[in-house]
Symmetry: C2
Subunit: 215 residues, 2 copies
């Protein structure tokens, strides 16, 4: 089983690690889960991977590059959480209701991720990004789609179902995303911190109503 080329973090028998990059990202994700982006510290990451600090420099230019990789992975987790919300609301046959529910599911998954994994959520969005990279495969979840793409898919469904007027479709991602992203931030770090589940669920529902009405 353990052929040295697939050595796990603890107990490597060869000189080479055989997957250090992945191990470092994994350790970084664990640190991010516990303490957010600031906790993704190069030395501790390498320590957890059972390797000397400098080994990281064979795979990442610097600490920031490591954090980027961790952040991308976190975005993938966010995508997974949203896809899970899709699965929780299967098709009903009514195209309009389905499309509406799909956009809602994006919002619910997004906020759910922020609440369940605040450290990963913060890390996912702690790193500057731009539109060109928003669909980069390294940010995708298990089904190969990034959170940004999932918003787009939901909006396309609304368009095809005739709910969203065609002239409103372009760039609608920004509006939908900004809205749920803002709520996510407010819930974990902002003034909405510490509100109980019911209050937050209520705020989420009203926010999603607003998007539905106003998009």
């Amino acid at each position: 089983m353990d052929d040295g080329a697939t050595a796990t973090a603890r107990g490597r028998d060869t000189y080479r690690h055989g997957g250090l990059r992945e191990a470092l990202v994994e350790a970084g994700v664990e640190l991010a889960r516990e303490g957010g982006p600031a906790a993704v510290v190069l030395r501790e990451t390498t320590r957890r991977a059972g390797v000397s600090p400098n080994a990281a420099y064979r795979h990442f230019a610097d600490r920031d590059a490591l954090l980027h990789a961790v952040s991308d992975t976190c975005l993938g987790f966010a995508a997974d959480r949203i896809e899970a919300e899709f699965d929780a609301h299967p098709s009903t046959g009514d195209d309009v209701a389905d499309a509406r529910m799909m956009l809602r599911a994006v919002g619910l998954g997004y906020i759910g991720f922020a609440r369940e994994e605040p450290g990963l959520f913060r890390t996912a969005f702690s790193v500057p990004d731009n539109l060109q990279r928003a669909a980069d495969p390294s940010k995708a979840g298990r089904r190969g789609r990034t959170p940004f793409q999932l918003v787009g898919i939901a909006l396309d469904a609304l368009l095809e179902a005739g709910v969203l007027p065609p002239d409103r479709r372009p760039n609608a991602e920004f509006l939908a995303w900004a809205t749920v992203h803002g709520l996510g931030m407010l819930v974990i770090d902002g003034p909405l911190r510490g509100l109980d589940d019911r209050m937050i669920a209520f705020a989420t529902e009203r926010l999603l109503d607003m998007v539905d009405r106003g998009l």
Copy 2:
């Protein structure tokens, strides 16, 4: 003029600084302006205030307490920017139009601040907060009102003008705030980074339309 009790940063003639706390916050704000919250580094802050690193501990429990104070000041600047947007759109006499414009002005000021002072914007929201402290005077601008309170004032105007149904008024702050805050984040750090002014102005307008329609 320089009586030792109001010593400015450079060239203190007494043993006591005579306003070190303020000087530290000021230096911290400058650092935040240049490099965001991460740049607010205790040692460099004290250096700029012309004082030894440990002197800061007479006024702040630790670096985090200093960052909090800087962050509060930044929130005050955000409030100032929003108030400036109020001033730029004086009353027309039409209560409905005025109230609508007021909420728009909050959004415009918010996004304006994010774009003009990204470092201060990031710093303002880099620190965990909660609802109880959202109206704390230390976060207020020159006119004594915090950004959170300004959103509330705009919504109250919408209520009184009959635009916002009374049953939708409670907690509407969260919706309005989350929306513009999300756009702000996306614009400075997120996928909307690097878009030109026209694109961002367009996105802002559409976002505010959405709030107006959907609140």
